[in-house]
């Protein structure tokens, strides 16, 4: 609708002409119809996997984490790999919603809601691992500094593991608030469409009495900008701090200053891969190909090329510095990574993360959803292996050859990891059913983008005038309960 974007070079963000009303209709439709059998099948599988995972977690909590494949040489392995993997995935959402917002990338509007939801679910999955790793998760509150009768004995503020606690919990809270603030106008839209009943009642509470007042919109825009400005350094800080879990130790292969930017690039890389995986399915299943367009997919693949390049550069730099430093332990750690017993994992990582993104240089591949989907899965696998390689290969041959060991995950560890996918997909499938997965308000504001100023529904001005006696101001004042008159069929 906005008439300032008239450049003929711009392509419309919404590829089909749509009116405001049609857009509301389309985005709200999946929530307002009963789920299809496909959804039920997918949901059933996700819940079954989640249930199995929950059982396995219950078993390891009851038995103790001795059921894992860890040994005294390799004290961190599968569990921390999965933690870093999920946290990394959780980075794309905030990147899309905050950083792309600050850069005025309007194409983000149709994917930010779902990407933020994905962030929240991924961070939930991530947070499970350290809590399980504690062995006694019911004492998890000990990581918080609170006055206690043990001294008071405080948490160690010099430990990166504690920084992680603050980083992840702040990240989750701020992302959740950001997501919710973004949802409020859309919740009101759903509220005003709903017939009296449970949906109406729930959305009435959740939309906090939003009226669409521009005085509120104006403040809302300010708040959104501020939150974007806060979330941008936050998202960078989170994976920076995760990387410090490793970088502040003295383990060869971990103790490197390149880790923070390297981890952040990897997180964005894997996060975008996961957004693509989810969005490619969602747009087809819900018929949103004109909202989440090929252009969106293409833009994300371009970000993947860039971040993939950054990750590749980091791999190369690590190797170079290991040689250039002249430190024999550092050199050994890296030679062992590439040619030692875990070389297979290293080369899977290199194939998936260094080689495969370059396929996106081809326009044909960038514009083929099937190819992008396949590559996004490859990148997800590659990024999982990156974390596995960093963690396990750095640990398994330590300074003392007599304590060298190998690590194999047990079924319990594998089951826990698969269980988190159950959690992730259960939450995501619920999300697509109960909330508008595309930001209605934001897409409406870009509907006219590059559309030559054609206002979609052109009513001839003052058409309905004839039906009413002209100056309504003389009628007795109407005290209508307005909220019920919001259906389209009701006369306005």
């Amino acid at each position: 609708m906005s008439h300032q974007h008239l450049s003929s070079l711009r392509e419309p963000l919404v590829t089909e002409p749509r009116t405001l009303g049609q857009l509301t209709e389309e985005i709200c439709a999946p929530m307002e119809r009963p789920p299809t059998w496909k959804w039920w099948v997918a949901f059933g599988i996700a819940v079954a996997v989640l249930g199995t995972g929950a059982g396995i977690v219950g078993y390891q909590v009851a038995t103790g984490i001795g059921v894992w494949g860890l040994n005294k040489t390799i004290g961190w392995a599968f569990d921390i790999t999965n933690f870093v993997f999920w946290v990394g995935i959780g980075h794309a959402g905030t990147l899309i919603s905050a950083i792309l917002f600050l850069f005025r990338q309007k194409w983000r509007t149709s994917i930010n809601r779902a990407a933020e939801a994905m962030t929240l679910f991924a961070v939930m999955c991530a947070a499970l691992f350290p809590v399980i790793h504690m062995g006694r998760p019911w004492l998890a509150f000990w990581v918080m500094p609170y006055p206690n009768d043990r001294g008071s004995l405080w948490v160690n503020f010099r430990s990166p593991l504690l920084w992680d606690v603050f980083a992840i919990s702040t990240y989750f809270t701020v992302s959740a608030v950001f997501w919710y603030v973004g949802l409020i106008p859309d919740l009101a839209t759903v509220r005003d469409r709903a017939k009296a009943g449970l949906r109406k009642a729930v959305f009435k509470v959740m939309s906090l009495g939003w009226t669409g007042s521009h005085r509120t919109w104006s403040r809302y825009e300010t708040v959104y900008l501020l939150l974007a400005g806060l979330a941008t350094p936050l998202v960078l800080s989170v994976h920076t701090i995760v990387s410090m879990d490793f970088a502040t130790s003295v383990i060869p292969g971990w103790h490197t200053t390149i880790f923070p930017p390297y981890f952040v690039a990897g997180a964005v890389f894997s996060g975008f891969a996961m957004v693509l995986t989810l969005m490619i399915i969602t747009r087809v299943v819900l018929g949103y190909e004109h909202l989440i367009t090929l252009r969106h997919l293409e833009n994300m693949t371009k970000i993947i090329i860039v971040t993939g390049g950054l990750v590749s550069l980091a791999y190369a730099t690590e190797f170079f510095i290991a040689w250039y430093s002249g430190n024999p332990y550092e050199r050994f750690a890296f030679m062992n990574r590439a040619f030692g017993p875990y070389a297979w994992a290293y080369w899977i990582m290199v194939t998936c993360n260094v080689v495969s993104p370059h396929l996106f240089w081809f326009k044909k591949i960038r514009t083929s959803p099937a190819a992008i989907f396949a590559l996004s899965l490859v990148i997800n696998v590659g990024m999982w292996f990156e974390r596995f390689v960093i963690i396990v290969t750095s640990l398994h041959r330590d300074f003392l050859p007599s304590s060298w060991a190998m690590y194999t995950p047990t079924m319990v560890e594998v089951g826990t990891f698969i269980g988190t996918f159950g959690l992730f997909f259960t939450l995501f499938l619920l999300f697509v059913r109960v909330l508008p997965i595309i930001s209605i308000g934001e897409v409406k504001s870009v509907l006219g983008f590059a559309r030559d100023g054609h206002e979609a529904p052109q009513h001839p001005p003052a058409k309905p005038v004839a039906e009413e006696p002209h100056p309504v101001a003389h009628r007795p004042v109407a005290a209508v309960p307005l909220a019920i008159a919001t259906r389209k069929d009701a006369p306005v």
Binding site: R158, L227, G453
Partner: protein
């Protein structure tokens, strides 16, 4: 407030922008404008001042940072100083990450809280909503300065700027 409020409904962003400007320039009291999405340029058209929420954000951040640093200094220097290899108790660089995180946390939460308070958004709000303004309509609400009869002129003005319907209400929530 029981002065009647005149509502003009519009179908497009361009019309509502023009009409808002016209209504304001004609000297009517602009009660509010209701839109399904944030219409850029409406701030100017309505003559709204930039929000002061940025100051809340700054204050919240400052508070978070101060609290975080005080907590870390108190626990590490005063309450339970721990000698680790002769390193200083006040290991300031190590306190930066947590201070940063709490700065962001406090700034974000206080901004959102202030926004909700200022915009009077809360669960259980019973505010009524104009028809279709959260869907595909735009509405301008005009209050008279003195006599309700002034609204005739306002209605005329809005019709000329493309209002598709008008309505008179007892009161609308802003």
């Amino acid at each position: 407030m029981s002065a009647p409020v005149l509502i003009g409904y519009f179908d497009s962003e361009a019309q509502v922008l023009d009409a808002t400007r016209a209504v304001r320039e004609a000297g009517f009291v602009l009660h509010d404008v209701y839109t399904p999405y944030a219409v850029h340029g409406l701030d100017d058209a309505m003559g709204l001042k930039p929000s002061r929420l940025t100051w809340v954000c700054f204050g919240g951040g400052l508070l978070g940072c101060t609290l975080a640093l005080s907590l870390q200094l108190y626990t590490s220097v005063v309450s339970w100083p721990l000698n680790v290899g002769g390193k200083p108790f006040n290991s300031f660089p190590a306190f930066i990450p947590v201070s940063f995180e709490l700065t962001v946390l406090f700034a974000a939460l206080s901004t959102v809280a202030a926004f909700l308070l200022r915009a009077k958004l809360f669960p259980g709000s019973r505010r009524s909503v104009l028809p279709r303004v959260t869907d595909d309509r735009f509405a301008i609400a005009v209050a008279p300065r003195e006599a309700p009869s002034e609204l005739d002129a306002a209605e005329d003005l809005m019709r000329r700027h493309g209002a598709v319907a008008t309505d008179l209400l007892e009161e609308v929530a802003s």
